[in-house]
């Protein structure tokens, strides 16, 4: 039963043919079986999960059904603050941090009656594309014989869904951190429009880019999970006060009559040929389903990674200044001097990728360099946004690859940070423009590594993204394949 979707399980829970308690036990047993190999989780919360499952069962028995998520076991990326539960952000710095508050999305899920299986592994402070930067063990992609990365930074959230150690999960996406692991693990991953979902309680990486989103087994589940977390939050000044439509409506509308743009800059030299082939085949499928393909151009695409890394790192360098050993988190032993306490705490508490990005961000903001780097990047960001705005006057949504390659082997890119950054070439521009985008499985390589198709829509048009994704899914079965774990 752990292989099933939210919507299928909901029917059974509603009907009483399945109990939430049974479901959670199945998931927990699956965790015991599979976690030693996959390591999708940093921590499991079985006691809480069982409590929540009991409460869900009681509610079902009373006929009290709050949401389709009632009784559904979920994984939460470990940068989402969960009251009373250790929230580490994959870092030594916060290894024993227990937040006295819930993130808004966590609160909404509790109120929906969801069940929390555990906190999912991630690249430290969401900085990375492979989950190898986790202070804890790296998560292994359930596909490819456990020798490949699951992508990052929401690698744990994605792997847990792919390995069926949860029914669905929440991740976060700043430059591709939901979409990339979703593509690499063959699951659905959606990054909402910036401001669609509250960031309150999401440990900040890059404030003007971060968004929380669902990773699920199919598009319908993504709609359900998005529904539960979307909406204005007065605790987040950057959350949009835009009504939340019923995302489950219109999933069956299909794509006939829609104009789908294919940006030529997203099919670059050096792309893995299997990825390109799968993505093009996917695009062709949508054409066969009745969509009109439009050849479009996003001329500033190649500057997106540089822009992203200047801005994201600059904001991150400031957001991570609070980790100083004073009020919470790690405090290094020092020779009594305050300055050495700071420096030693931060040296010990942060891994190298985090340090690298803090250094880059600090440099970009520093005296004499602000105009050349930070301001310049903000201006290029405007141009990137304008590229998309222009293109959306001609089409309803865009189609592209998610990453230039499928999952790579563990350890393969650790020595070359720049190489790692280039994994974001197709996802970063979308983040910079604040647009909603989703990865849906669209093929597999010869080595059985999943490939994802990215669907991008104008701001607050998640419904469009879901509609196109659902149509594609209905006509294909890529999303139904399961990895074989040794």
């Amino acid at each position: 039963m752990f292989e099933q979707t939210i919507h299928a399980l909901h029917e059974q829970l509603k009907a009483g043919s399945l109990k939430a308690r049974e479901l959670v036990e199945a998931i927990l047993a699956r965790c015991i079986a599979v976690e030693p190999q996959v390591q999708a989780y940093i921590s499991l919360t079985p006691d809480l999960a069982r409590e929540q499952a009991e409460a869900a069962d009681a509610a079902f028995a009373r006929g009290d059904i709050r949401s389709p998520l009632q009784g559904i076991p979920l994984a939460l990326k470990d940068n989402l603050c969960t009251q009373g539960i250790v929230t580490t952000c994959g870092s030594h710095m916060l290894e024993s941090f227990v937040p006295p508050y819930d993130a808004t999305v966590v609160r909404r899920l509790r109120e929906a009656g969801a069940v929390f299986v555990g906190k999912a592994n991630m690249d430290e402070f969401a900085m990375g594309s492979s989950t190898e930067n986790s202070y804890f063990a790296p998560t292994r992609n359930p596909w490819g014989n456990l020798e490949y990365v699951p992508g990052g930074s929401s690698g744990g959230s994605a792997a847990a869904v792919a390995a069926d150690t949860c029914i669905a999960s929440l991740g976060s996406d700043t430059g591709g951190s939901i979409r990339l692991p979703a593509a690499m693990t063959g699951v659905v991953g959606l990054k909402p429009t910036y401001g669609r979902v509250s960031r309150f309680g999401l440990v900040a990486f890059a404030s003007s880019l971060d968004q929380i989103g669902p990773l699920t087994k199919d598009v319908r589940d993504a709609a359900i999970l998005l529904q539960a977390i979307a909406g204005h939050d007065k605790c987040d000044s950057t959350s949009g006060d835009i009504p939340v439509p019923d995302y489950s409506q219109g999933l069956d509308r299909g794509v006939s009559g829609l104009k789908l743009g294919v940006p030529r800059e997203y099919f670059v030299e050096g792309m893995d040929p299997e990825v390109e082939a799968s993505v093009r085949a996917g695009i062709e499928t949508l054409k066969l389903l009745g969509a009109e393909l439009v050849d479009v151009s996003l001329p500033h695409t190649r500057y997106a990674v540089a822009t992203y890394y200047v801005l994201a790192n600059a904001e991150a360098s400031s957001n991570l200044a609070r980790y100083d050993g004073v009020r919470y988190g790690l405090r290094a032993a020092s020779d009594g001097d305050l300055l050495s306490m700071y420096k030693q705490t931060r040296a010990e508490g942060f891994g190298s990728e985090v340090k690298r990005r803090i250094m880059l961000g600090t440099y970009a903001l520093s005296s004499g360099y602000y105009d050349a780097y930070y301001k310049k990047a903000q201006q290029v960001r405007t141009l990137l946004r304008q590229d998309f705005q222009q293109v959306f006057t001609e089409c309803d949504a865009l189609l592209s690859p998610v990453a230039p390659t499928p999952a790579f082997r563990l350890g393969e890119r650790l020595d070359d940070p720049l190489q790692m950054y280039l994994a974001d070439i197709f996802t970063a521009p979308v983040s910079l423009a604040g647009l909603p985008a989703m990865s849906v499985p669209c093929g597999y390589t010869q080595q059985d590594l999943p490939i994802g198709l990215q669907i991008i829509a104008p701001p607050f048009q998640e419904a469009m993204v879901l509609q196109v994704g659902a149509a594609f899914e209905a006509a294909t079965d890529f999303h139904t394949r399961k990895p074989v774990l040794p």
């Binding site: 024993s96 941090f97 227990v98 006295p100 910036y194 401001g195 003007s208 007065k234 000044s237 950057t238 949009g240 500033h300 190649r302 500057y303 990674v305 540089a306 822009t307 200047v310 360098s317 200044a321 100083d324 050993g325 004073v326 009020r327 919470y328 988190g329 790690l330 405090r331 020092s334 001097d337 305050l338 300055l339 050495s340 420096k343 030693q344 931060r346 040296a347 190298s352 340090k355 690298r356 803090i358 250094m359 880059l360 600090t362 440099y363 520093s366 050349a372 780097y373 310049k376 990047a377 903000q378 201006q379 290029v380 960001r381 141009l383 946004r385 940070p417 720049l418 910079l432 423009a433």
Partner: protein, 94 residues
């Protein structure tokens, strides 16, 4: 390109202790990354407004009302060292 002195200066600004190995490694890596970022200079941006926020929101306020969020104990719970209801750190030297 970035010099070791610049790396050391930035590390101090960011309150990071770097080992000698890190110092060397970062100088090379940061240099390569910064070189990559130089390509932004190719883009003409005269008269282009910088984007600080992608959403066009303005004037988001809250009412001036007192509402406690957590207890004092909860607020101090994660402090590595606390005493007399204060957070304790090594003596600040002015």
């Amino acid at each position: 390109m970035i010099s070791p002195e610049q790396v050391a200066h930035v590390a101090h600004l960011a309150r990071l202790n770097l080992s000698e190995a890190e110092q060397e490694q970062f100088t090379a890596q940061l240099g390569a990354i910064l070189d990559y970022m130089e390509q932004l200079n190719e883009v003409p941006t005269d008269g282009v407004e910088p984007t600080s926020h992608v959403l066009d929101l303005v004037n988001v306020f809250r009412e001036d009302r007192v509402q406690p969020m957590v207890t004092v104990e909860a607020a101090l719970q994660n402090a590595p060292e606390s005493a007399h209801q204060y957070v304790v750190v090594p003596r600040i030297v002015e």
